[in-house]
Symmetry: C2
């Protein structure tokens, strides 16, 4: 123990210790730091290419599924900092997803039989598109484990819809959308019986096990009112499923432009590998049966309509992806095969087939529709496209390299050798008609501890950022993704997404509609009908109203809470101690928490998000009274003369403080007006928020003045206190606006 050593000894040891610990950083020149940390010139370049200075913004948002946790991760490129985990197929406590009634109802609608699923298997997401380009509005995910599909809104990065698949017990954990997001496509993965649910996997596989591809009809906001929704929705009634023989299905992609009606995907059966080709325009009106309210198109009907064929592959592939221009589709296989969409379409419409496979599905001869093949390497895992005409990247897992090649001239253009085995690849915007050409993200499929810190038997996933902007491609950053088993991801230019900062007051964020339970300041109340209790409450710095709620043991209680804040980043959490209820309330949101008050006692409830310096004051008590409890004396006790005098004194003090705070506000307003604050949108928004707060406080001001006139000093003091709360909030927001404006005027970023 150092601290028990002789003082002089201590000094020496301390010096050595500090010298050792401090040396890495005490160096203040670039050369010193390079030497101390063992960095070379390439490390320095990599560092400055990914470092995000204070206030800097990433160029891209990237979205990646977690594999089996049912959650989506949002991160930035090139900083590779993680911004959000969003609950999709699983409840997520931090945002109260699956905890409040509204999101719980949404998740329950995601189950055919009210089974509660608390995990998922989500791998390949798709972003909504307009004319093949990302429009930044929605994102879709398939749950391979529990056969669900989900839609997220990117205006607030929240899950808006989860639907159970009416037929499949197993889905491929990926989706794709058509060129204008008319359909969201989901397929089965492992074959399983549908209607005749039990079948012998050994004897009845071919006769009773099935596969399928589902086209979920998607209506965007302007159309969605057809079904009464204000935000985009998948509509089961207008969706359909193509039934297939028991192929194991894998990755698929959609066409663009000339190939926009096509879906191509991987299929395998009895050791043979295929690409299925579907022309959905030919089969969408060929529904042959219905089961579980699902529209089914039989294999035969699709074949008869010239909407379905297969291509047998000479070797297995792990992916098939459509080129940005929609002219080709390419397999991720050791010899990457480039297929010509025009030729495939002709063969299908002309009936130029070479034979048949299971289910009498016609086969198109691979050689007849193939532009050519290029040898990439061993165990090719994935492909990604570049903006440059014909440029494509392929990852060769066992060769530890990524190859850049061109599908126009079928030649390799370069490669980057890696220190890891690369898996899935992603280029920003790479799955749209307009990929970008600066970065490539590659998943490390074998992250040995020799390269990473040891954090126990289960480790995070790792992926690498590769600079592809020049001929000298280089691995520049290793990113750690906790709670993720990375398969695929998508990325979009950050500025394409326009997230909101707050909701319209009283919004049910799952439907986008104003909640029936919206409650505004001053209208908080508790309503009872028999043993059913509704609490209409509000949250605003620094009060939860009401502050005491009394119910009887056995009551069914709902807290309907509205966050009244208009300021930025003013989320309040809400929890009732040991009652297992929790919610997250973003500015403007209304949500409800229902529970049975099955345990008597006094249970504090409080805000679980740091919301201001007065955060700890956001507290109240739920009193659950056992039968025949006599503790509570209901009637108000009259104040003594001394008490009244004390309240008067407190009131006068508070009015003085209100005056002073008002002066501060006026000073800020003067500064803002003199400096044309309205020219700066962010500043303007803050100022509007500030006035909003003041406006909301008006009723409190009227009340305290009224009660003061009547000599009711307790009420006068309490309302003055209330008004001051609004005033403080207004001042707080106003001062933020002033600071920001000052920064703008000084030319800050």
């Amino acid at each position: 123990m150092l601290k028990k050593a002789h003082p002089a000894m201590f000094g020496i040891v301390f010096f050595l210790m500090f010298a050792m610990l401090g040396q890495l950083l005490a160096q203040q020149t670039l050369e010193d730091v390079k030497q101390a940390r063992g960095l070379d010139d390439n490390d320095v370049l990599a560092a400055v290419k990914t470092f995000m200075p204070r206030g800097g913004r990433d160029e891209y948002f990237a979205f990646v599924g977690t594999g089996n946790s049912g959650t989506m991760i949002v991160y930035g490129i090139p900083s590779m900092r993680i911004y959000k985990y969003v609950g999709v197929f699983s409840p997520e406590p931090w945002q109260g997803y699956g905890y409040d009634d509204e999101s719980m109802l949404m998740l329950k609608k995601g189950s055919l039989d009210d089974r509660i699923y608390n995990y998922g298997d989500m791998r390949y997401p798709a972003l909504s598109e307009t004319n093949g380009e990302y429009n930044g509005k929605y994102l879709f995910y398939s749950d391979g484990a529990n056969s669900r599909i989900a839609m997220l809104g990117l205006d607030d990065f929240e899950t808006k819809q989860v639907l159970p698949h009416p037929l499949f017990v197993n889905c491929f954990p990926g989706v794709a959308v058509t060129e204008n997001t008319e359909y969201v496509i989901q397929s089965s993965q492992y074959p399983a019986p549908w209607e005749n649910k039990t079948a012998d996997p050994e004897k009845e596989f071919d006769s009773k096990f099935k596969s399928g591809v589902t086209f979920w009809k998607f209506l965007d906001p302007k159309e969605a009112t057809r079904s009464g929704h204000h935000i985009g929705r998948m509509i089961k009634e207008e969706s359909f499923t193509l039934e297939l023989p028991p192929f194991t299905l894998d990755y698929f992609d959609t066409g663009r432009e000339g190939s926009k009606n096509f879906v191509v995907g991987l299929a395998s059966k009895d050791g043979k590998n295929f690409i299925y080709v579907i022309d959905y325009s030919k089969i969408q009106n060929k529904v042959t049966s219905r089961f579980n309210e699902a529209n089914i198109v039989s294999t035969k009907a699709a074949v008869d309509a010239k909407g379905l064929a297969m291509i047998e592959l000479p070797e297995a592939a792990r992916k098939v992806k459509v080129t940005p221009d929609g002219k080709y589709f390419i397999t991720a296989s050791d010899n990457a095969m480039v297929f010509d969409f025009d030729k495939v379409a002709s063969a299908l419409s002309n009936g130029t087939f070479s034979g048949k496979t299971a289910g009498d599905i016609p086969l198109i001869d691979a050689a007849s529709v193939m532009k050519g093949k290029v040898n990439i390497g061993k165990d090719v895992m994935d492909l990604a496209f570049d903006y440059r005409d014909g440029v494509v990247y392929a990852s060769a897992f066992s060769d530890k390299k990524i190859v850049r090649w061109n599908y126009n001239d079928m030649k390799t253009e370069g490669e980057v050798s890696l220190t890891f085995k690369p898996g899935q690849l992603m280029t920003p915007q790479g799955m749209s008609a307009a990929p970008h050409s600066n970065y490539l993200v590659a998943v490390d499929k074998e992250g040995l501890y020799d390269h990473y810190p040891n954090v126990g038997p289960v480790r995070p996933s790792f992926q690498h950022l590769i600079d592809i902007s020049s001929d000298n491609m280089r691995d520049i950053y290793t990113m750690s993704l906790p709670q993720a088993n990375i398969y695929g991801s998508v990325s979009v230019l950050r500025t394409t997404i326009k997230p909101i900062i707050r909701y319209a007051l009283g919004t049910n964020t799952r439907t986008g509609e104003i909640s029936d339970f919206k409650t505004v300041a001053g209208q908080e109340k508790v309503e009872r009908q028999g043993n059913r209790v509704h609490v209409f409450g509000t949250l605003i710095r620094s009060h939860i109203t009401p502050e005491i709620v009394e119910v009887n043991e056995g009551d069914v209680v709902t807290f309907h809470l509205t966050n009244l804040e208009r300021a930025e980043d003013e989320t309040h959490g809400f929890t009732i101690n040991t009652y297992g209820k929790h919610g997250s309330f973003e500015p403007g949101k209304t949500a409800s928490l229902t529970f049975v008050a099955d345990r008597a006692g006094a249970f504090p409830y409080y805000c679980t998000e740091f919301c201001s310096a007065l955060h700890l004051e956001m507290e109240g008590i739920l009193l659950v009274k056992p039968k025949n409890w006599k503790g509570k004396v209901e009637k108000e006790v009259a104040l003594t003369k001394e008490e009244l005098a004390k309240y008067k004194q407190d009131y006068e003090k508070k009015v003085k403080v209100i005056k002073e705070t008002g002066d501060v506000i006026n000073g800020v307003v003067k500064f803002l007006k003199e400096n044309d604050y309205a020219k700066y949108p962010y500043v303007k928004a803050l100022v509007e928020d500030a006035f909003d707060q003041l406006e909301k406080g008006k009723f409190a001001k009227e009340n305290y003045e009224k009660y003061a006139k009547e000599g009711k000093w307790k009420d006068a003091f309490l309302w003055a206190e209330q008004y001051w709360q609004y005033q403080v909030k207004a001042a707080d927001v106003g001062l933020r606006a002033k600071t920001l404006l000052e920064e703008k005027l000084q030319g800050g970023k």
Copy 2:
């Protein structure tokens, strides 16, 4: 749409587009990148101080609670990369925490009344200590929302124990440990009734609402066998709670060396602020009553034993922290107050009091025990210590600055102005007897969108890494922490923690004991007693055994699965489609999944973690047979002559492949031996794994040779296939070992 433009136009737009997108990165000199990305020299220095080159290791692990999600985050310093989210108070799907029977049982023990809690409120963790220094073994958390305490083992970063508080309905969400982790200390936060559970918060507050401080007895491994455990445990029977009048309690800390028997914490009541001082050595044997199996020490008993007093503070404080040498405790308040522990201890033992407060608790006069105070700034939020004698940092929220000062000479030494409002502070090892002096982490309590990318109404938390290694303190990295509401964190030198890579085969990871359900290769079986079915299965690349499980509708089924892998990072996931069951199986782990087979059908089960190139083959089918189902024909059909001949052919082919694979293995073994592989621990571990795999395959080899002799070609082929699987795994691991050894020989890091 670019792609519909005239080709020439396209070329121009493409050029502009590419020029814009690529310019940031195409630059290959430091100066070019600096200019393109708008970085200055300080940014470059910051970048190289935090950049982690491929294979580099962070100096520290940091642990931070998420606030209300019930999950712990592990990240590295200085890279600020997040390595892990660990489920503590909430189920966590990615690791199957709260999903398998073992962890579900552990979480259920964390509830007094079988209520399932799926969130928590965890803020200030504590690491286990030996002589006041971190020993890297355990970590503790308090759940403020649902009154629980948890212990994590740092050998595998898993939660090992969750206990409900027997008295409090509300806890302060922080813990502290005594100098040798004899006790883990937890307190209440908001007062609430205990025994007499319902009480009127307005009329009966002082008479029936209570607070308390609990000392949870902790037994470390060598002692833990006293209660039959193999890993550390908190023992309720030997724990005790000091009952206090209804003070609102807040942050507390424990003494060291001379002050090792003391706990000091913040308390407030009726607008007055106090520090409570407890000498636990005086009260641990003064139990006055028991309730709910909890030992209670009354306030009076503690006062009589000279084990409890309070100090009234002249101003409110947000923290109280004990100095590394244990001589002082200091308040985080606008005027930081330094109290002398010796003087406080003397006052307490001599009864030198200035009065009394609620519950007749004696008051020690603040001035008489205060060394002095130093003005820091406005709204001081937290303190952190440096290794240098007397050095302490304080964050002034409203002043946007962190002040370095010295509690020896009570002088400020410097400050760093920030662009954000700093909250909690953390120095690596800062809460132990041996803080380090290179980094300071400060939480950004007000992350406006003007400084960060907008990701919707709910944003992540942000914290900053500040270089404190020189007089020129500087904010060098902004870290984003998703799903976190950051309050406090602790950090330890990475090398202090020695995580394991795999478990002993068949380990129940929650108890550390070998599971009764451990299953080894070849002993997989299905046992039935009435409608209770136990499946004893194994997981190993690339098979789930058994591959078909048949049960009857209504059976209660348990899958007991053991991951047989010995290789590094070979976790297998397991899920049964749409049956809502999911688990994560690290190498060596045995866990159980129990469910009612309440829906007939055929349900694929599969591995949800990418485990090898043959990952997709880890699949099987659960057949749930409805009553009277006749589909399945049980008896084996004899093979035809042709089939037999085909199997013989397949067998011979496989034996040839086995020979070739064997040659590869022998070549690798030769290389390894010639190059003294055993000198390199990591390489050695891999080689042992490889031999382990081969050894395991022996029975398969014996079987295929036996069946071949008997002319049973189907069985011979299947066993040969099985043996080859083991061989491939051995070769795979062996090749990894060879690669690693080559790197070592070439002097790689």
